[in-house]
Each structure stands twice: as structure tokens, then as C-alpha cells.
């Protein structure tokens, strides 16, 4: 049985939370079951954090937004339509929206000045390489921000997070063909943006 005070009798399963299927967890989570929510949090929190970090390059921002993602999740968990297709996709979308809104508010659609770029921490010990990497990373992130919402999502999930086309299709509630098309257009645009900066 789920640890916690769930009064709902929906789940008659008596599985430990760690092994519970996402469906069961979600069903309990809709009742704000403490154990289910905790398990979901633990399963996705790190991924969301990395995702946001890769999109922004800013640790503090990533921590902040990660917390916000899960708080927003709590607000809307009872609205099943929101996440019906894919819970993780829903979480990523929330994160994506936070990132996009953040940069839109900042008014920065283009590149970030070197001075304002978030400090980078890299395992690379060669400072030159580190700098080059951070420059590239920042350039890429900035370029991604200039894509359309969907394109950015695809690029991020596909290439930054490493999900397969079918997974991304599920998460974004699209067909695989649509995702293929999206990824092609997205990368093509990125190429233009990146080469524009270089030349």
C-alpha cells in the first residue's frame, strides 16, 4: 500500500512506491497522495534540472525553475487532460515555458554578452577549451531561443536530453513524422543562425 494518507480506494495495489507504475502513481498523485507525489518528484526532478540547465546555462536559474515546475505541477495535477498523454512531456513543457518566458521577459532573443554569460563549470581542465565550450554552448542556447516553441522543444528533448523520436513524439503528443519534420527545420534554422554569427 502506498505510504501516506491516501483515502482513495482507487488503487488496491499494494506495491511499494518505488516500483509503482507511473499510471498508479499518477492516480494517487491526483489525490495529492504524499508518497506518490514524493516518488514522482524524485524520479523527475534531476532530469528537469539538467534540462533547464542545458537550456539556460545558469545553475541558480535552473534550481529556481525546477522548484517552480513542480509547484506548478501540483497546481494542475488534477487536470488530467493536461498531462494525459505524457506526464514527463508535460513537465518538460512546463520547464520549457518557464525558460522561454524568462528570456522573453529579459528581452534577449539573441546572443548573450560574454560578460553576462553564466559562469561555466566544466570538467574540462584546459581553460581554453572551457572557454570555447562555453562560448559554443551559449551561442547554441541563444540560437535555440530564437526557434519557435515547438522547434526549440524538439531540439532540446532530442539533442540535449537525448530522447528518441518516438519518445519525443509521445511527450509532445505528436506523430513521429511531425517530429522528424520539426527536427529538420529546427536544425536547419539553427545552422543559419549559427553561421550568421560566425560570419
Amino acid at each position: 500500500m502506498f505510504k501516506g494518507r491516501s483515502q482513495s480506494s482507487r488503487t488496491s495495489e499494494v506495491t511499494p512506491v518505488a516500483e509503482a507504475s507511473e499510471e498508479a502513481l499518477l492516480a494517487a498523485a491526483m489525490q495529492y497522495d504524499e508518497a506518490a507525489l514524493g516518488e514522482l518528484y524524485d524520479r523527475y526532478e534531476a532530469k528537469i534540472y539538467t534540462y533547464i540547465y542545458r537550456r539556460t546555462g545558469d545553475e541558480a536559474l535552473a534550481e529556481d525553475f525546477t522548484a517552480q515546475v513542480f509547484l506548478r505541477m501540483l497546481e494542475s495535477i488534477r487536470d488530467q487532460k493536461a498531462w494525459h498523454s505524457s506526464f514527463s512531456g508535460w513537465l518538460y513543457r512546463i520547464a520549457h515555458n518557464l525558460v522561454i518566458d524568462h528570456y522573453r521577459r529579459k528581452g534577449r532573443q539573441g546572443t548573450v554578452d560574454i560578460d553576462e554569460a553564466a559562469p561555466t563549470a566544466s570538467e574540462e581542465h584546459d581553460p581554453e577549451v572551457t572557454v570555447a565550450q562555453s562560448l559554443d554552448a551559449e551561442r547554441l542556447r541563444a540560437a535555440i531561443r530564437r526557434l519557435t516553441d515547438e522547434q526549440a522543444e524538439v531540439v532540446s528533448l532530442r539533442f540535449l536530453e537525448g530522447y528518441s523520436i518516438s519518445e519525443v513524439a509521445t511527450m509532445m503528443n505528436r506523430t513521429e513524422g511531425a517530429i522528424k519534420a520539426l527536427q529538420y527545420r529546427a536544425v536547419a534554422t539553427l545552422r543559419t543562425l549559427l553561421y550568421d554569427q560566425l560570419h
Binding site: 489525490q31 507525489l37 514524493g38 545553475e59 501540483l74 565550450q133 536544425v187
Partner: protein, 593 residues
């Protein structure tokens, strides 16, 4: 290549790239036409992959944990919310707690009763509650309204006091002192109102009441509480005319302390009351600045000249009982007033006796005395009769007075400038034994003889009477305490108005005043000097007067409570006697040291 194909090529190529194949090798597998684009696109993907490969830095656990906690908290809140809204559904299975159930049943019965009247149910359900609240409000309102009009001795007076105390208690820190003062003032006004009321009732007995006030210091034997002067004696109900009991004091009296006082209001006495019992509730917030030791309790007996009491020189062969009989008073009374502890009465000593000894009734003490300066004028007149009596004391008094007036520089004329303080206090001239009262101020000047008299009379303000030892000189001494302290040096002591007047006698007085001063100085309550000035009128400040006496002051260092330097006392420096009128207020530029 068709766009579609490109998409497919690209998709495929990407898969291979992500699987780890070399970029150049992949591109080589595709039609030449597509290679350039593919190469470029794949380069981008490669970059993205590299960026993705950069591990995020080690996360700070603090923020993670905080976020987790916040998440749990919100989850719990939402859970509670959910259960609350879902509860009714599960009602049958839930057992309502018994007491609430009964209340709920009662409430329901009330509301159903109302709704049976035909009113819309939801609204009527609230009717009993509304009525209850209305009744509550009205009762509170009535109580408070009644309390507002209450005076000491009324049933509702404690309520009024309580409300007042709450006001003080809830005042912000920086206004607390002002609020305390205001409350004390209001209490004094209440007392005055009641006293006035009682005066109009001939058979009225003294009324007892309890108040919370702030102790401000000593004025001779009197305690200054708030805006009230408290005599440390009271006449118990049922006791005889001459039966006086001392006040019981519980706690250490430090200036600034908040005390609860049980007191007796004397008809006609508007700001002097008889203290029955006093208990210290709260020590003063700050260390009392009083350097000198003001007597914490009136253990030290000080001779206070009551209104209608005069100085009398004991002749050889006279006895206390004889004098008492002639003066229509009692031996105990004489003893008490004059602080005579041993049985020996030496000839040529001066004691205070009721002026009935003169055989003629003194003119009724000017009611003004109690009230205000106005009385001043009458006072002098009153005193004249006394002057006849002056012979007793060192005649100097009379002599002094003239000087005084001169000293006054004509201020004496002004003397009517009743001691500012006077106005108020002095207790019912009715000369209850209350000693304090003497409106000294009145002594103001002009009536030189009066002066001497006044001096004797006024004591009240100048508690300093104690220094009285100097009193013989006293005319000045009257104010002795006060005046002496004052300007002694300046002599002119103009401002001190009345008291000053006394001192005015200054020139000659100076000598005397000096002694007086010293006397006062001796007086433990430095306040005397200052106090004198600070005539009753002054708010508790009395002590300040001492300030005025800078010259004399040293002794005066009246520990007196920090009360502001009594305005009235013209600081000695202020020599130029302001027109007597300079009521203390103005006078006291507060030089007071």
C-alpha cells in the same frame, strides 16, 4: 532531393551520429547533392551533443532540499483542501465531535425556528447570530459609555480605569510616557471633579477609590503621583476628627514607578488626596536619575504647615496640651504636624498650630487656593490676619517680607502671581489636616506680612516646609523649601511667584534664605527647592524647581523625578523678576539646573 527525403536522410543520419558514428563517414553515404547540407546540419547536431555532454556542476543541496520541502508543504496543503471539500461526501462515516455536534444541533434548531417564519432560509439562518452580536455590541457600548462618565467611587469607575490603562498599555513605545501622563492627568481631573462634587454635599464623607498612577517623586512629605498630591495619612472612616492613619506602602518607591494607590478623596480638595495604601506594580523603566536619596517613604517626618495653621512661638511654661486646648486641636495633632517625638517642648521654639489659637477665625480660606492662582490674591488678604500673629516667629518674617517684596523688585506686587503651582493644589483649604495643601503660592508677595503668613500657609507647595527649621526666617522659608532653594541667590526669585515672594524677602531673606536654603538643602527632598517652585500646579514636576535654585541647589539636587524643571520656578538666573504674574509657567525657563 525532396524536402521529405532530406528530412528522412537527416533523421537517419542523426541517429547514426548519436550512436557514435563519425560525421564524415555518415555524410559520405548519402547522395552528393545532399552532402553539403547534411554536413552542416550534422555539425549543428554535433555541437548540441557536445553541449549536452557537459555535465551540470554539482548542485547545492540547500536549494534542492528547500525546494523539496516546499513541494511537500504545498502538497499537504492541497491534500487538506481536497479532503475538506470531500468531507461531506464521507460524512456518514465520519463521527462529528460531540461538543460541536451539540452546538451545531442547537444552532440548527435556532435557524429552523427562524426559517419557519417564512423568511428565506439562508438569511434567517444568520439571524440568531446577528441578534447575538448586536446584543453583545450594545451591552459593551453601554458599559463603556457608562464607564466614561464614572468618577472615583462609582461602580463603573474601575471599568473606566481599566480602559485607560489599556490605552496606556497599548501605546507604542515612544508614546508610552505621554500616554501614561495623560492617563494620570485624567485621573487627577476625575478626582478633582469628584472632590468638587463632594464639596457641594455637606454631609459627604471622604470617598475612597483606587487608581493606577505613576510615582513622580516627593514633595516634602507628600507623594506626587501623576497629577495628584498624596498625603501619606488618611482619616479612616469612623475615626474621630483627629484620628489619622499612615499610608501603607508596599514596594520600593522609585520615581517613575507605576503604583496602584488606594486613596480617599476629600471634599473640596481637587488635587490632593489622602493616601490609604500604595503598592508598587512596576518599577520604573529607567534608573531613576535622582542622585540624592529622596526618602523612599515618608519616614522622615517633616513639618508641614497646613492651611490655616500658623507659626507659634512657645512661651516658657506652656505645654502642648495647653496649646492644643487653646487652639482647639489635639496634642497628637500637634505632635504629628510638628514632628515632635519626644515629650519635651522647649520654650522659644516655634511650632505650627491651628490659627484658631488666635481666637479669631481666619477668613475662610479662599476657595481659590484650591483651584488656582486666582486665589492668590485672596490669600494675601487671608494672611493679613495672620500677620498679626507673626510676632511669634522671628519677626523676621514680617521684616523679611517687606524686603521680599522689594527684592521682588516690585515683583512682589505681582506676587499675586500665585505660585503657579498653587493654583492647583493645596488641598482643601478646609484645612483638613491635610497638610500639604497650603497653597503657598499665594504668599505671593505683596502681603509682606502676608508674606510671612503666606509662607506659613503655603507650605503645601513647598513641602519644603520641612526646612522649616528655617522657617522662622521663614517667611522666606515658606517657600523655604522652595523659595529658599530658589533664587536665594537671586533673591528676587521673582518667578517663583508666590514662593518666590517668600523668598523675595530675600534680601533680608538671603541671609535667612541662606539658612533656609541650607535648611532646605538639608531637607532630604531636594525637591523642596525645586518642588516649591513647581507648585502643585506643575505636574509632578515639582522636583524641577530645585533646578531653579541653582545656587542653592546643590542640596536640592532633588532626586525628584525627572520631571521637567518646573516651569514656574524662575530659574534663579532669571533674576529679573518677571512681573509677578509670571506664572510659574513662563518663569521657568527651566533653567533649572
Amino acid at each position: 532531393m525532396t524536402p521529405d527525403s532530406m528530412e528522412d536522410y537527416f533523421a537517419e543520419a542523426v541517429e547514426r551520429l548519436l550512436r557514435g558514428e563519425a560525421l564524415d563517414e555518415i555524410v559520405a553515404d548519402y547522395p552528393v547533392a545532399a552532402r553539403a547540407e547534411l554536413h552542416a546540419l550534422l555539425a549543428v547536431v554535433e555541437l548540441a551533443d557536445q553541449v549536452a555532454a557537459v555535465k551540470p556542476p554539482q548542485r547545492q543541496p540547500v536549494k534542492r532540499i528547500a525546494a523539496r520541502v516546499e513541494f511537500s508543504r504545498l502538497a499537504a496543503a492541497k491534500r487538506a483542501e481536497l479532503h475538506a471539500t470531500q468531507a461531506p461526501v464521507a460524512a456518514p462515516e465520519i463521527k462529528a465531535p460531540a461538543p460541536l455536534g451539540r452546538v451545531a444541533a442547537f444552532w440548527r434548531s435556532l435557524t429552523t425556528g427562524w426559517s419557519s417564519l417564512g423568511a428565506p432560509a439562508p438569511v434567517m439562518r444568520l439571524a440568531p447570530l446577528t441578534l447575538l452580536l448586536l446584543a453583545l455590541y450594545l451591552s459593551m457600548f453601554t458599559v463603556v459609555a457608562t464607564a466614561q462618565a464614572a468618577l472615583p467611587g462609582d461602580l463603573a469607575y474601575p471599568v473606566k480605569s481599566w480602559i485607560r490603562e489599556q490605552r496606556v498599555a497599548t501605546a507604542p513605545a515612544e508614546q508610552k510616557a505621554a500616554e501614561r501622563w495623560r492617563a494620570d492627568q485624567e485621573q487627577a481631573q476625575d478626582v478633582a471633579a469628584r472632590a468638587e462634587q463632594l464639596q457641594s454635599e455637606p454631609d459627604a464623607a471622604p470617598l475612597a477609590a483606587v487608581s493606577i498612577l505613576q510615582f513622580r517623586g516627593f514633595d516634602g512629605e507628600q507623594l506626587l503621583l501623576g497629577d495628584l498630591k498624596v498625603i501619606p495619612w488618611y482619616r479612616p472612616e469612623g475615626g474621630g476628627e483627629d484620628v489619622w492613619l499612615p499610608i501603607t506602602i508596599d514596594g520600593e518607591l522609585q520615581p517613575g514607578a507605576i503604583v496602584m494607590l488606594r486613596y480617599q478623596i476629600v471634599p473640596g480638595a481637587s488635587d490632593v488626596v489622602q493616601g490609604i495604601a500604595l503598592s508598587v506594580m512596576q518599577a520604573p523603566p529607567m534608573p531613576t536619575p535622582a542622585p540624592t536619596a529622596t526618602p523612599t517613604t515618608a519616614r522622615h517626618c517633616q513639618r508641614i504647615q497646613a492651611p490655616n495653621w500658623v507659626a507659634y512661638v512657645v512661651r516658657a511654661g506652656e505645654t502642648l496640651s495647653g496649646i492644643a486646648a487653646r487652639a482647639q486641636t489635639s496634642v497628637e495633632e500637634l505632635r504629628r504636624v510638628n514632628c515632635l517625638t519626644d515629650g519635651v517642648l522647649r520654650a522659644s521654639t516655634t511650632i505650627f498650630v491651628p490659627n484658631t489659637i488666635l481666637g479669631a477665625l481666619p477668613p475662610a480660606p479662599p476657595p481659590a487656593v484650591v483651584t488656582a492662582i486666582a486665589t492668590q490674591a485672596p490669600l494675601p488678604t487671608a494672611t493679613p490676619p495672620a500677620p498679626t500673629f507673626t510676632p511669634s516667629p522671628p519677626t523676621s518674617a514680617p521684616t523679611i517680607t517687606p524686603d521680599a517684596t522689594e527684592a521682588q523688585g516690585g515683583g512682589a506686587e505681582a506676587t499675586p502671581t500665585p505660585l503657579p503651582a498653587d493654583g492647583a493644589p493645596t488641598v482643601a483649604p478646609t484645612a483638613d489636616v491635610t497638610i500639604a495643601v497650603t497653597p503657598e503660592h499665594t504668599t505671593a508677595p505683596t502681603a509682606t506680612p502676608a508674606a510671612s503668613e503666606t509662607i506659613a500657609v503655603t507650605p503645601a507647595a513647598s513641602e519644603t516646609v520641612a526646612p522649616m527649621t528655617a522657617t522662622p526666617n521663614a517667611t522666606g522659608t515658606l517657600s523655604p523649601g522652595e523659595t529658599a532653594t530658589e533664587p536665594l541667590a537671586t533673591v528676587t526669585a521673582p518667578p517663583a511667584t508666590a514662593t518666590s515672594a517668600a523668598t523675595a524677602s530675600a534680601p533680608p531673606a538671603p541671609a535667612t534664605t541662606e539658612s533656609a536654603v541650607t535648611a532646605t538643602a538639608a531637607a532630604p527632598d531636594g525637591t523642596a527647592t525645586g518642588a516649591a517652585v513647581a507648585p502643585a500646579a506643575q505636574n509632578t514636576v515639582a522636583p524641577a524647581p530645585t533646578a531653579t535654585l541653582p545656587a542653592v541647589a546643590p542640596p536640592t539636587a532633588t532626586p525628584v523625578p525627572p520631571t521637567p524643571v518646573p516651569p514656574t520656578l524662575a530659574p534663579p538666573t532669571a533674576t529679573p523678576p518677571p512681573p509677578a504674574a509670571a506664572p510659574t509657567e513662563e518663569v521657568a525657563p527651566a533653567e533649572a539646573p
